[in-house]
């Protein structure tokens, strides 16, 4: 620890450094990116301002250690826990170190035996290990070829193909021109900088013209995944799907919801699927719980509404089985559709002949959906990709409505059998 000349009492200084180190470790454990840089900033700042009273101390640490609203919240909790019980700091320190040691030991243990992660996720993973015995094996027939195999029967070996398909999906979604320019051989805007440079050798007469054009930019993606009980059959696929999306598509934010909303983007950045599962089971406590789609979407808009703009495609993955407030769902869907470039609803259960979306949630959400697709197997995913590719870049705004105007029904994509939307609505939905 570097010595700080600002403090006369070296013992106090050492004590403070040690405690600060412990505090930073606690913050790191709570998911903050507090590194040595931040720690030394905090020490320098304390040296500058002096220890002073508790609020000052807290402000100084918060300014230097917490770097976004979420981190500030965690910081506040940790601060209470750590500094407000100053006497217990040493004790806590010791506990933390032990806990870390235990954690690393157990990870080592796990990697050794290669055991699947525990808690809820592993439970249903085991349950789904034998899908043939599952009475509700929706959309599955033993004679079908691989592409029609229902996702819930997929193992991780199929993950690769899903990733490839989703990359294609991502490319199909790259439908806007950025505002930056790149050199171009074709005609575009004149690039004066390069033109001048190239022609200077000829004495300054502009003979060869250099051009530039707009770069093609990818849309941002927001993926909202229903992980409730009713989607349980597809949960294995769901995780792979989410994970594949995350790997194939760089500009993506992923959320999981059942009764509440969880941002899981960071969790999915692991290279391997197993630790991801483990992290998910910890982060999403109500996995396979009930569903409150409306409340979850509303929470999404409140907390992360800024993520959705006209360069964002929002994908909602759910069966629309909502036990919460329907009005809230309607309002949130309306809001999301107005903000986003397009709103795609993937309903894997639609592939099942026995599935009847008589649920109110799906009916309430339908008017605000730009594209409704069943994404229950590779075929249906392929079809979605093809459909997106077909849509012309300029008019890729299907079903855009001003408020109060009549909604145009969204195209329903379902492989194999042609779905007549009107018939579908008559059968399952009531248009009010």
């Amino acid at each position: 620890m570097p010595s700080l000349p600002g403090f006369e009492d070296m013992a106090l200084h050492r004590e403070l450094s040690a405690n600060l180190t412990g505090f930073c470790r606690l913050l790191r454990q709570q998911g903050l990116g507090t590194g040595p840089g931040e720690q030394s900033d905090a020490l320098r700042a304390l040296e500058l301002v002096g220890l002073g009273d508790a609020p000052t101390f807290r402000t100084v640490l918060r300014t230097t250690l917490a770097k976004n609203p979420a981190e500030r919240e965690i910081f506040d909790q940790c601060f209470e826990r750590y500094w407000m019980v100053w006497d217990r700091a040493h004790e806590l320190n010791r506990q933390l170190r032990e806990k870390e040691a235990r954690a690393s030991a157990s990870t080592a243990d796990k990697s050794g035996t290669g055991k699947a992660p525990t808690v809820t996720i592993s439970d249903w993973l085991k349950r789904n290990e034998n899908p043939e015995t599952d009475a509700e094996a929706a959309g599955y027939s033993p004679f079908e070829v691989v592409t029609r195999k229902d996702f819930k029967r997929f193992n991780s070996a199929d993950l690769h193909e899903i990733i490839q398909l989703i990359s294609a999906l991502g490319k199909a979604l790259a439908t806007r021109f950025g505002r930056r320019y790149q050199p171009s051989r074709r005609l575009g805007r004149l690039d004066l900088r390069r033109t001048l440079r190239q022609n200077l050798r000829r004495g300054g007469d502009l003979v060869d013209l250099a051009h530039r054009q707009r770069q093609l930019k990818y849309l941002k993606l927001v993926l909202l995944c229903d992980v409730s009980k009713s989607m349980d059959l597809y949960s294995r696929f769901l995780i792979q799907f989410i994970y594949a999306f995350q790997s194939a598509y760089r500009r993506i934010e992923t959320f999981a919801f059942s009764t509440s909303l969880h941002r899981i983007t960071q969790l999915l950045k692991e290279d391997d699927l197993a630790p991801v599962l483990e992290a998910l089971s910890r982060a999403v406590p109500n996995w396979s719980g009930g569903t409150k789609i409306g409340a979850s979407l509303s929470a999404f808009l409140d907390q992360h509404g800024g993520l959705v703009d006209r360069h964002t495609a929002v994908l909602i993955m759910s069966d629309g089985w909502d036990t919460g407030e329907i009005e809230l769902l309607r309002a949130s869907m309306d809001e999301i559709q107005r903000r986003a470039r397009c709103l795609i609803w993937l309903n894997p259960l639609m592939g099942s002949p026995t599935y009847e979306p008589s649920c109110r949630g799906m009916q309430a959400a339908l008017p605000f959906v730009d594209i409704l697709a069943s994404a229950h197997n590779l075929d249906s995913l392929r079809q979605l990709v093809r459909h997106l590719g077909k849509i012309q870049r300029a008019d890729f705004k299907p079903n855009r409505n001003q408020r109060g105007q009549k909604k145009v029904p969204a195209p329903v994509l379902q492989p194999e059998e042609k779905v007549d939307r009107q018939a579908w609505l008559q059968r399952f939905g009531k248009t009010s």
């Binding site: 840089g37 931040e38 900033d41 700042a45 301002v49 402000t59 100084v60 300014t63 230097t64 770097k67």
Partner: protein, 309 residues
């Protein structure tokens, strides 16, 4: 320095009519003293940009502002060559005896350089305040480019060479969180979150910025805003809206709030039509909670007598 007494920066800010609470003052103080950029986030209209302006005035230095937008690139932020002038120069020199190398050296010299905000900030004769406004609007590529400049305080122009900052600027970055800034940027900055002010702070701001406001009106306005911000609205009004409203009511010679004027001036406070509609509906309830009497009784006794006559 004792932590109890006001930080010098706080006194400077207060002298500029900027009501800074302790956290704002402390963040600015730390950022300035430890030469770190300060990242300021918070809802729209709480005075994020204002901080930089006030700080420039308080430190008696210049404010250089870089407004970010989508597609902002190095040429717009850093420097650009003055092509028109270069071309003219080449034409003028056409008959001359200069070699190509000499010509090139001339036209890629400092005289032909257009300096944009970042270059201006680095070459300024004293430490300016550099405001990088709404960084979340620029794309990620620009962020990484900015990091390079912020960490080294030097800019390399291939034709001229590397320019070092003689007086590193005080950097203030603002973001409205339309997207998350990269961790790299966050790590490099100190962080300040400004929320909507509480009643006391807002009252102080209103009275500071609108000096000729009636004390009762100011109190009522701030109570009203406090209630409004507890509602679920599409666009929660910020301090800027409060000030606009206060100024408007002063211009209309109002001494206190009354329902008609509130209804007529709702557009100054609420910028979304659903909010306006929602407020119109809940206005009576608001009035009641604020203790403001209904239309008739708000008239002075003489006026009632006159209207009866």
């Amino acid at each position: 320095m004792s932590a109890k007494e006001n930080l010098p920066i706080q006194q400077l800010l207060n002298a500029q009519d900027y009501i800074a609470d302790r956290e704002i003052a402390m963040s600015l103080h730390l950022a300035q003293a430890l030469a770190k950029p300060l990242l300021v986030e918070g809802p729209a209209g709480v005075g994020k940009t204002e901080i930089a302006k006030v700080m420039a005035r308080a430190l008696d230095t210049d404010l250089i502002r870089l407004q970010c937008y989508e597609g902002l690139d190095a040429h717009t932020a850093l420097y650009e060559w003055n092509y028109q002038r270069q071309l003219l120069h080449i034409k003028l020199e056409e008959g001359g005896k200069k070699t190509v190398e000499e010509k090139e050296a001339t036209i890629f010299g400092k005289d032909f350089l257009l300096d944009r905000p970042l270059l201006q900030a680095i070459t300024h004769h004293q430490s300016p305040v550099l405001l990088i406004d709404e960084l979340d609007r620029a794309d990620e590529e620009f962020e990484s480019f900015l990091l390079e400049v912020l960490s080294e305080w030097q800019i390399t122009i291939p034709e001229i060479g590397t320019i070092h900052a003689t007086h590193p600027p005080h950097v203030i970055i603002t973001s409205n969180r339309t997207r998350e800034l990269s961790d790299a940027v966050r790590r490099r900055c100190f962080y300040l979150w400004i929320d909507y002010p509480d009643f006391d702070k807002e009252l102080a701001i209103v009275r500071g910025k609108v000096p000729d406001i009636d004390a009762r009106l100011a109190t009522q306005i701030c109570r009203f805003m406090e209630l409004v911000r507890q509602q679920k609205l599409e666009k929660i009004p910020g301090v800027a809206e409060t000030l606009d409203w206060a100024r408007a009511l002063v211009a209309l010679h109002q001494q206190h709030l009354n329902p008609e004027f509130i209804e007529e001036t709702l557009g100054l406070v609420f910028k979304d039509w659903t909010d306006v509609r929602q407020m119109k509906e809940s206005l009576p309830e608001f009035m009641q909670r604020l203790g403001i009497r209904a239309k008739e009784s708000s008239l002075a006794p003489e006026e009632i007598r006159q209207s009866h006559a």
